[in-house]
């Protein structure tokens, strides 16, 4: 493999240690160099795997030997003991997990537990934010249960709504269900697609939001 001026900078790039002009130069280079692009992908995979490893004490202190081998005046930065220098990026499943966990947090259990008269200030923005890259929440796997909770609540509450409204709500829930189904089918064909994972999570969030709103509305008319 032919090395160029950027090949040895890829690791610094991943660690975010390039300044803005260097980063821009490398990114411009990556757009045209397939080899560097592939190497970057490999490096990222290594970093990702490394993160999953447990820290272990070395069998002996290697630092003295390493320091002796370094050229004078270029001692690398050391981090305080116990402080990890690892930078975390998240895999697609983690992203999906983060998104759907947020859905759950704003979902059935939360609705049932937290519903109370709130001021506009408190209510503003209570909707779950659209899932975004970088959110870290442990995936609980309870989204379907949350939706089921809200649907059960809706079945009880919808008696307080007129039949036309109930029909509209059910039609719109069906629209969301079709969108969820579309996303699931697409995901089966392309499980690693980050966009599809986020889209599914976001669409499920929409269903939770609608159920919650209608339940709120019905409860307010009791």
């Amino acid at each position: 493999m032919k090395n160029d001026q950027w090949t040895n900078r890829l690791s610094e790039y991943i660690d975010g240690e390039l300044d803005s002009s260097e980063r821009a130069g490398l990114e411009a280079h990556l757009a045209t160099c397939g080899q560097c692009f592939a190497t970057l992908a490999d490096l990222r995979e290594v970093v990702a795997r490394a993160k999953s490893l447990e820290d272990r004490e070395p069998t002996k202190d290697l630092w003295a030997g390493i320091r002796a081998g370094l050229t004078q005046g270029s001692e690398p930065r050391r981090h305080a003991p116990g402080v990890s220098s690892r930078r975390f990026t998240f895999s697609v499943p983690q992203l999906m997990a983060a998104s759907i966990a947020l859905v759950f947090l704003s979902g059935g259990g939360a609705w049932l537990a937290l519903r109370s008269s709130q001021s506009p200030e408190q209510r503003f923005g209570e909707t779950t934010p659209r899932p975004r890259v970088g959110q870290l929440v442990t995936w609980t796997g309870h989204t379907d249960a949350a939706i089921a909770d809200l649907q059960t609540a809706l079945t009880q509450n919808e008696k307080r709504l007129d039949t036309a409204t109930v029909r509209i709500v059910r039609e719109n829930l069906a629209i969301i269900d079709r969108a969820i189904s579309d996303a699931r089918v697409a995901l089966q064909k392309d499980p690693g697609n980050a966009y599809l994972n986020l889209h599914l999570a976001n669409t499920m969030r929409r269903k939770v939001e609608l159920l919650r709103r209608v339940n709120d509305m019905a409860a307010a008319r009791s």
């Binding site: 990556l30 692009f37 506009p120 659209r130 709504l161 036309a164 409204t165 579309d182």
Partner: protein, 376 residues
């Protein structure tokens, strides 16, 4: 003074078919209105008084009271099913509003306070508002113009339109378009399941913008000197821009691309499952919207639907009338489509109260259990 009023004031506007009352309120007072069916219209004026006008019909009643620092207006019926009541309320411009209804259209104009408006079956149309502005409807479009602050707008089964709005903006519907124009914001989150999303507004350094649809196109304007990183993703649509975009490296496929413009400090996410994603220059977007509006108006005025922009409301006298007059059913269908909404509304307003009452009496004994009040 206000405390005295609170204890003393309870005005029941009935049994006249329409009534007015006007009273002074101190600075900082708010308004709370609940009207089951009809309309809630609120205007702002430069006086420290509230004026309430109610079109109540014979059975309807309007109660005005003051609780703490809140003017509370409730409607009801003296007998039987809820009445359809139109409220026209004039308030100090800075008054905060909390408006709710079930079969109610809500209209606000010229108020510069916080606004909360929620209806189930009805449109919400607000011009003005500052601070926290939250507008909700299930079955009805929601429009907001000339507002600023923290904006949250929801519908379920209709479109949402925001014009000349600034601040933190969250907009969501399920089955309808989202149109945002003249927006000044560093934080916009707008989405729908069935419908297009259109954004024309600022892209501020460090801002956050997110637009999503499942079954619709996403069209956004990108100002010339914007510094933004755009992530565009679609499963079954295309991604298109009317200007060159520097693509970012990454595992981009046909359906997911990242572009960096300028420093890339703002973040913009554009996502549509079935639809296309388009990025346009602001002027191009404005031209397109003008064109769309013009076509929409032409369509509205072209009552015979023959695309001749005849602007006539009397299609059968138009010499350029082009469809086949021998086809009576086609003619009837088109004519009905053109005039039905107008005359249905007019005749419904005129006759509904009378016949609703008459038929309710007639059938209530037989269908007591299944009777549903359902008027608008």
């Amino acid at each position: 003074m206000f405390a005295t009023l609170a204890a003393a004031m309870l005005v029941a506007l009935a049994p006249q078919r329409q009534s007015d009352t006007t009273f002074a309120v101190p600075a900082g007072a708010s308004l709370s209105v609940n009207n089951f069916g009809g309309g809630i219209t609120v205007h702002g004026w430069a006086e420290n008084r509230v004026k309430v006008h109610g079109e109540t019909g014979r059975r309807g009643r309007v109660e005005v009271s003051i609780v703490g620092s809140t003017v509370v207006i409730k409607t009801g019926s003296r007998e039987g099913a809820p009445s359809v009541i139109d409220l026209d309320i004039t308030v100090p411009q800075s008054m905060a509003l909390n408006l709710s209804g079930t079969y109610a259209d809500i209209t606000v104009d010229g108020v510069q306070g916080a606004i909360s408006a929620e209806t189930v079956n009805g449109e919400v149309d607000v011009r003005g508002g500052k601070g926290i502005v939250t507008l909700h409807s299930i079955q009805g479009s929601v429009t907001l113009a000339d507002a600023s602050g923290r904006i949250e707008v929801n519908s379920v089964n209709e479109a949402i339109e925001l014009t000349n709005v600034s601040g933190e903006i969250k907009v969501e519907t399920t089955n309808g378009e989202v149109t945002l124009t003249g927006i000044q914001s560093s934080s916009v989150d707008a989405g729908t399941i069935n419908g297009d999303v259109l954004y024309e507004g600022t892209v501020t350094d460090g801002g956050s913008y997110s637009f999503g649809s499942h079954n619709g196109d996403i069209t956004v304007s990108i100002p010339e000197r914007a510094n933004v990183t755009i992530t565009a993703a679609t499963a079954n649509g295309d991604i298109d821009s009317s200007f060159p975009l520097p693509m970012q490296p990454g595992p981009a496929g046909k359906h997911r691309k990242t572009f960096k413009i300028g420093s890339g400090s703002a973040r913009m996410e554009l996502e549509s499952f079935q639809g296309d994603i388009e990025m346009r220059r602001p002027q191009e977007m404005r031209d397109r919207m003008e064109d769309r509006k013009r076509k929409h108006n032409e369509h509205d005025n072209d009552f015979d639907n023959d695309n001749d922009n005849d602007n006539d409301h009397d299609a059968d006298s138009d010499t350029s009338f082009s469809f086949d007059l021998s086809s009576v059913s086609a003619y009837a269908t088109r004519y009905a489509a053109a005039y039905a909404p107008k005359y249905a509304a007019q005749y419904a307003a005129q006759y509904a109260p009378r016949y609703a009452r008459q038929y309710a009496r007639l059938y209530s004994k037989h269908y007591k259990d299944s009777f549903r009040f359902n008027t608008h």
